[in-house]
Symmetry: C2
């Protein structure tokens, strides 16, 4: 943890024994100037009911970019871009300008004057996040496969495992919701803070003639749990992320890039999928069937073989009649590391809605974002899920993209600087 958790960041590493939940409570107490730093009360679930919008994370100095290991904030705006300039120098300038702007935004500051001197010019910052504070904003930058081509003189710098994802079973991808040369994942505890960040960064890309918007999703509720967080629910009404990566050892083994040149290390691969959920169909399904589709109990989140959310699923356990208790097509069986050669990926997903579709049905789903040190890990899991998952009747993968996420910049540097050295 390198994030700054206090109102006046000291830059010191917080006590690892202190959970984010406790820090949230402490920060809330700080705003009223009366209570000392306090441990979480008994029945601590209430602490997550308090959102402190003054929290900030650091952009510079950590090994890895923020917004990956960072406990998922409540809201996200994700956007990808197509490069519109053929010049590597333009890409370089864009990454430098984005980095400088992101550093400001994560501090809750504007990226430049809202009202330039004497109001004679165009504002550098669009202003709608003035007064809103940092709200735990992180902006995470990804580089797509097409960045690393001869056109930009970067073919030799291509991260070892970066490539387009293979075609996967059940894919119904729409080109207009897929791909991109650059990605921005803005997450915050206030969606207007996240939207403002993406808006102003998109404006820089456009004004410099370097990149144009491609596709975007706004996530209105987190659907993955980080360390110390309770498990949220996706729009199927089920807890999502119970077995997500939370421990440092798993981050080291499965998320961060370890090999290759220095500039790739502490990077990671980002896979984004727009997964439409046919929620009105889902809502007509018996809950007993829903539980079998997921392999968990809806309310408790416990595996069908257990009684507590965090009980380890017993995939071999059978009923008296010999049938598997967690069905062969259950989502958690197919996705489990036990059944995928030990593979784990970090999920950092958000619920989204696109309103009402042409048939008058609620149009909603999951902005699935995952991080891993080998895209083949996602492909392996999704190959099994896409082929056999009982959930496929209720979901469609309609968007997809992959990016390499370079390590965090040190102070005075910018994301991807080493690429151009």
């Amino acid at each position: 943890m390198t994030e700054k958790n206090e109102k006046n960041p000291s830059g010191k590493t917080p006590n690892p024994q202190v959970s984010r939940r406790n820090l949230l409570v402490g920060a809330a107490a700080g705003t009223i100037g009366a209570a000392p730093f306090a441990a979480a009360p008994a029945g601590a679930a209430a602490a997550e009911d308090v959102v402190d919008l003054t929290r900030e994370h650091a952009f510079y100095g950590a090994a890895e970019q923020a917004g990956i290991r960072t406990p998922p904030q409540r809201y996200a705006v994700y956007m990808t871009f197509d490069l519109t300039s053929p010049r590597a120098a333009d890409l370089q300038v864009l990454l430098a300008r984005w980095s400088g702007a992101i550093a400001q935004l994560m501090k809750g500051q504007t990226i430049g004057p809202v009202e330039p001197m004497r109001n004679s010019g165009v504002g550098f910052d669009t202003g709608e996040a003035l007064d809103l504070g940092p709200a735990s904003l992180t902006v995470t930058v990804g580089l797509g496969p097409r960045v690393f081509t001869d056109a930009y003189g970067l073919a030799q710098r291509k991260p070892a495992l970066l490539r387009e994802l293979m075609a996967l079973p059940s894919d119904t991808l729409k080109p207009e919701l897929s791909g991109g040369d650059l990605s921005l994942q803005a997450c915050a505890d206030d969606p207007q803070v996240a939207y403002h960040a993406i808006r102003d960064l998109a404006r820089i890309a456009k004004d410099t003639g370097t990149a144009a918007t491609r596709w975007t999703v706004m996530g209105f509720g987190r659907a993955s749990a980080g360390k110390g967080q309770s498990t949220p629910r996706n729009l199927l009404g089920f807890k999502d992320g119970t077995r997500n990566i939370k421990d440092d050892a798993d981050f080291e083994q499965f998320v961060w890039t370890k090999a290759g040149p220095q500039w790739e290390r502490h990077g990671t691969y980002q896979v984004a999928r727009k997964i439409q959920m046919h929620i009105e169909n889902w809502d007509t399904d018996r809950v007993s069937d829903q539980n079998n589709v997921l392999g968990r109990h809806k309310i408790s989140g416990a595996p069908l073989t257990g009684s507590d959310e965090f009980d380890t699923p017993d995939f071999g356990k059978k009923q008296a009649d010999g049938t598997l208790i967690i069905p062969a097509t259950a989502h958690i069986r197919l996705a489990a590391h036990e059944n995928n050669g030990g593979i784990k990926i970090l999920r950092r997903s958000y619920n989204y809605t696109d309103g009402i579709n042409q048939f008058g049905l609620l149009d909603a789903g999951l902005l699935f974002i995952a991080y891993m040190n080998d895209p083949a890990h996602f492909e392996a899991i999704q190959t099994r899920l896409g082929a056999s998952d009982g959930l496929n009747e209720y979901i469609s993968h309609i968007g997809s993209a992959i990016f390499f996420v370079p390590p965090a910049p040190q102070n005075g540097s910018y994301i991807g600087e080493a690429l151009f050295a």
Copy 2:
């Protein structure tokens, strides 16, 4: 104020001297069990940085429905419906079922079992708001003009001033984003709580065969100020709602219906407009021009004739060369009650985004919702704005609807019950 502001609602009327900001601070302190109820600290803006998701409002017993005078929550989901049943009894049952469900939802409870007995049936509640708390949810129900027709035997019950809005200058309304026989406005400090409410209420409408979804907007940031709240910003980057109705006397004079049969009194008319903002064009405009378009300074929100946000605009003041300081086409001049025969309307708007449009431009705007005791008041103001507002270059009114909002039900009753007596 009849809302319950404490974690353990006492039902007592709060001290009118205690602002919502103070109550928020008090509630936050309550969650850590250490600090006594405290007055807002100096530099009190920080208090609004803490969001307490355990707050709840009451559905039954007040004179007026919640979600109108209620200080605007951070998020909204608005949806309208077309009646699909020709039977008045079906409408009656729907309003009764909606009322019962809303009362549960506003307490942070499910509308029925998520996992029915032995999981043998379909869930009554879709479950995605389990664990999220009430989050200050309000759901406000509106009845459109078509409800009051002979088809339902209700032509004689039509509220005196309910009718379709007249065509207005600059309107570019899309039928698929306009109209509806019923409206639901769900507002909460957690958008997933608001989305869940609308989803489950829409499901009741569909399952009973009574009403079908028509159009919807999710608002991701409040863009109107209530009493005791700081003024938020819309996606033009300007403060919105500085001169909004906040005082009881104005609510009595301009918002609540006073005449007509008993069941209309304490009702109000709801006008909803989906206003697209061409924000990328706006962002290329000089801030000096933006200030003239609005008639205010962007950062401070002060009128061009003043230095503080709440300074009264001086519409007659001129520069040395004789030109008006607040231009003739400035938004605040055209909208001001001083220039509209004293008319005021209550605004309760939210920022929205629809992502990226077909031209690759950011697609965003304002879900404008207003309440008034005579729809002609909105028409009068919008007639002036639509004809002359400098802002028209940057906005399009693409959706529109009008509803009568009946008074709140008393315990044991439901919204609109008197209609069917």
